[in-house]
């Protein structure tokens, strides 16, 4: 059993489990939306004293913070108990495209060039900080991220969520195809 779980999970198992988590949260009386946690953390840090947007009772969101802690633990379990030694299988075309940009595919889950603390460059720190900033700003502006709009919203056939998801995709395509050649 554990050997089976250690293999990389195929896409359909992942889709099934994600839908299962969304439905489970609905039956717990909550709704699946991860980026709300970012707002909650700002409030916990005291942002509500200065900015009205953060002035709410963060304890109503405690359940989502516990979900966040669980997600961190899940990542840890995956890299320890459920770790497998098979090299990462990335599409050959993607490997070639990234190589042309000077990004080496190293067979790990994340490119060491961008995410290894030992070798990360000042430029990449700035890129990751800027990228994070756009994620935080954009998800609050759009009222949700991939879990809130692409999963919960689309499952509820919400047209606003479809607009948001089209926006997510348009932004991603612009970054990948127009800006990456200028950045890397």
């Amino acid at each position: 059993m554990i050997e089976l779980l250690k293999q990389p999970w195929p896409w359909y198992t992942s889709g099934i489990v994600i839908a299962g988590i969304m439905i489970t949260l609905l039956f717990f009386g909550k709704s699946f939306g991860f980026s709300s946690n970012l707002r909650t953390i700002c409030t916990m840090a005291g942002a509500g004293k200065k900015v009205a947007f953060f002035d709410f009772d963060w304890k109503t969101q405690k359940w989502n913070l516990l979900f966040l802690l669980g997600a961190i633990a899940g990542g840890f379990i995956s890299s320890t108990l459920l770790k497998n030694d098979e090299p990462f299988k990335l599409a050959a075309a993607t490997i070639a495209d990234l190589k042309a940009l000077g990004i080496t595919f190293d067979g790990q889950l994340e490119p060491g060039q961008l995410f290894d603390l030992q070798s990360i460059s000042a430029k990449n720190v700035l890129l990751m900080l800027t990228g994070g900033l756009m994620i935080g700003f954009g998800s609050r502006y759009a009222g949700g991220c991939t879990s809130g709009h692409a999963i919960s919203g689309l499952s509820n056939l919400q047209l606003p969520s479809l607009v948001a998801v089209i926006g997510f995709f348009a932004g991603g395509l612009i970054m990948t195809h127009l800006l990456f050649p200028l950045i890397f």
Binding site: L5, I18, G70, L133, S139, S155
Partner: protein
């Protein structure tokens, strides 16, 4: 402890995101370059099954474990914010290869540098709160 079920749901989320490689920067690049079906398969399966479940919940007016009716609030119809916010989110998503959930899963996995992305995301969230009254919604 009443909160345990949320921790367990989070653990399952973390494991599935990591084991299906949906947290990988490489997989997000593959998706935005249309060079693999992997991420489309994950999101597509989740949405189709999710839509079926929501349909059944509404059809049979199912209740949650506390006996309250499950109602899914409709999103408000201010289109500018979805388009603009979505676009900005997408730029960051492709650059860092992480959504708000996966950035935390990555930290647990051992990619400590993802803390930089989280710091940026908190800063971005605060910035939005600060200037939201000046933005078109």
């Amino acid at each position: 402890m009443k909160g345990l079920r949320f921790i367990l749901a989070g653990i399952l989320f973390g494991i599935v995101m990591a084991k299906s490689e949906a947290v990988s920067w490489y997989r997000i690049q593959e998706m935005f370059r249309f060079q693999s079906f992997h991420m489309y398969g994950i999101i597509g399966t989740a949405v189709v099954l999710g839509a079926l479940a929501v349909f059944l919940i509404k059809r049979f007016q199912l209740r949650d474990i506390q006996g309250m009716p499950i109602n899914l609030p409709a999103k408000d119809k201010q289109w500018t914010k979805y388009a603009m916010g979505g676009l900005i989110f997408g730029l960051g998503w492709a650059l860092t290869g992480a959504c708000p959930g996966p950035m935390f899963v990555n930290i647990g996995y051992g990619y400590v540098a993802m803390v930089i992305v989280v710091a940026g995301a908190l800063l971005g969230t605060y910035l939005y709160g600060l200037i939201r009254h000046k933005l078109p919604h």
